[in-house]
């Protein structure tokens, strides 16, 4: 049998025998960022569409967790940095070719916006809330008056945040599993689906929950289509990408991907949401938790499997 044996003398920590430079921090952040983007997308969308009163759960209630999601996500990102005291260097330049650079700037903009969004809707949770200082009252008035513009900006930034979480991976040509332009739309859709699920949890009105259950089923359908499309692309591509796809098609990430991400995280919640629409009594927290679990696992599986995929030479 003809064989090729490659022996390397290199044994750099976290690089060999295979890359392990990104750990739990990055997929956790990508999940939280995607979820925050999903919630803010729907919140701003319904303001732009002028349907705020019909969709109070989406516009006023669910976004209350977004600042927390973003802060925890940013903390995870910070923990991942190996040269932490130099993190401010991110904000000394804008590098358009680097997804991480425009991701950092997007976060810089969307994090304060998420606080503003919560602040102007604080009365939804605390009806007797009064700002102690006049400046806050005036700021609230200003943002309430200009809410439509705030919503447009948020809508735009939320799409960038959602899609950037996927593009961050897909920009790496060196990791064949990540190097597919499907990843941006897939992570965006997954973030929107997770966002819709959280809105279901926060919504008080049945009509709104039904609306978001329908949206979620549609988004899960799109995700499944994108996944099939991604594998078609890989299998019709070069040897390294076929090998990368094989990590999920018989290789070591097959079970986590298909069981945790596709079945438990997408198909089961979609079926449960569908049955709920057909008047079966299903506690709506179950599909919500499953969608969130699937969305988190999608990032974890891709982050770890991607680092296993490489060019052979």
């Amino acid at each position: 049998m003809r064989e090729e044996i490659i022996t390397s003398g290199r044994l750099n920590p976290n690089i060999d025998p295979h890359l392990e430079i990104w750990h739990w921090h990055i997929p956790l952040y990508l999940f939280l960022g995607g979820l925050a983007a999903g919630i803010l997308f729907f919140a701003s969308l319904y303001v732009v569409l002028g349907k705020e009163n019909q969709f109070r759960g989406a516009v006023r209630r669910a976004p209350v967790i977004v600042p927390i999601l973003l802060i925890v996500g940013l903390a995870a990102l910070f923990l991942d940095l190996k040269h932490k005291m130099y993190f401010w260097q991110l904000y000394t330049t804008i590098k358009l070719q680097s997804p991480m650079s425009w991701g950092a700037w997007t976060l810089m903009a969307i994090t304060p916006i998420s606080f503003i969004w919560v602040a102007i809707h604080i009365k939804e949770f605390l009806p007797k809330w009064e700002w102690k200082w006049l400046i806050f009252k005036e700021l609230e008035l200003f943002f309430v008056k200009n809410k439509i513009y705030l919503a447009w900006v948020t809508l735009f930034l939320s799409v960038i945040l959602g899609i950037y979480t996927g593009i961050l991976f897909s920009a790496f040509n060196a990791r064949p599993l990540w190097n597919t332009s499907i990843l941006g739309p897939l992570f965006l859709t997954s973030g929107l689906s997770a966002g819709a699920a959280v809105i279901i949890l926060f919504s008080k009105r049945k009509g709104e929950r039904v609306n978001f259950a329908k949206i979620d089923i549609m988004l899960i359908g799109i995700e499944l289509f994108l996944i099939v499309h991604m594998f078609m692309g890989f299998l019709a591509s070069t040897e390294v990408q076929i090998e990368a796809a094989n990590l999920f098609l018989g290789g070591q990430y097959t079970a986590p991907f298909w069981i945790f991400v596709v079945i438990i995280g997408m198909i089961v919640p979609a079926v449960l949401e569908f049955l709920e629409l057909k008047k079966f009594h299903i506690p709506h927290v179950i599909p919500v938790v499953l969608v969130l679990f699937g969305s988190l696992m999608l990032r974890f599986v891709f982050a770890y499997a991607g680092q296993l995929s490489r060019w052979l030479y």
């Binding site: 290199r10 130099y86 260097q89 490489r310």
Partner: protein
């Protein structure tokens, strides 16, 4: 000016002198290396062929590491040498992910480190440490833009290859075959 390196796979014996010279010259932490030896055995016994390569950062012309660095710490120096400015590096690991050759590593002090073609020596007109010490004289370093340089001459006379040219990085470490 375009610096490049050529390594003669027919002369390299895989002694690792280049690895040790680099570690000493650049104070590379113990357990890490900026250059390394790869042996590729190919064929069916007894018709076996062996290729020995001293590998390192390829100082690519289209470097994915420079492209994806969010702070600009990874950059091109004069002559196309790719280096990392330590106090601009945040240690995010994006460049490590982006390198198809896995030529970078995270230094224990936090920043990302890699081969610099011994830029500090090159600036003084010296050869990189690995080239200097090679006992079989299998390594060539110099300016590709100068048609009379050793490297231009050897690349003209001999057949050569680069690693993973299909990755589109335009590497500037050549292997004479």
């Amino acid at each position: 000016m375009r610096y490049a390196m050529a390594i003669d796979t027919k002369k390299c014996v895989g002694c690792s002198d280049c690895v040790v010279a680099c570690q000493t010259e650049n104070n590379v932490p113990i357990g890490y290396c900026r250059d390394w030896i790869v042996e590729v055995t190919d064929g069916t016994y007894p018709q076996l062929e062996i290729e020995i390569r001293s590998e390192r950062c390829n100082h690519c012309e289209n470097s994915p590491c420079v492209r994806c660095c969010p702070t600009g710490a990874s950059h091109y120096e004069a002559g196309g040498i790719v280096t990392v400015t330590h106090n601009e590096c945040i240690g995010c690991g994006a460049c490590i992910q982006s390198c198809p050759y896995d030529a970078r590593y995270s230094h224990p002090d936090g920043y990302v480190d890699k081969c610099t073609f011994c830029l500090h020596r090159v600036k003084k007109g010296q050869q990189p440490a690995c080239v200097e010490v090679c006992p079989t004289k299998c390594m060539y370093f110099g300016d590709l833009d100068d048609p009379n340089s050793d490297i231009s001459q050897v690349l003209k006379k001999r057949k050569s290859k680069t690693l993973i040219p299909e990755a589109g990085t335009k590497p500037h470490v050549y292997y004479l075959i």
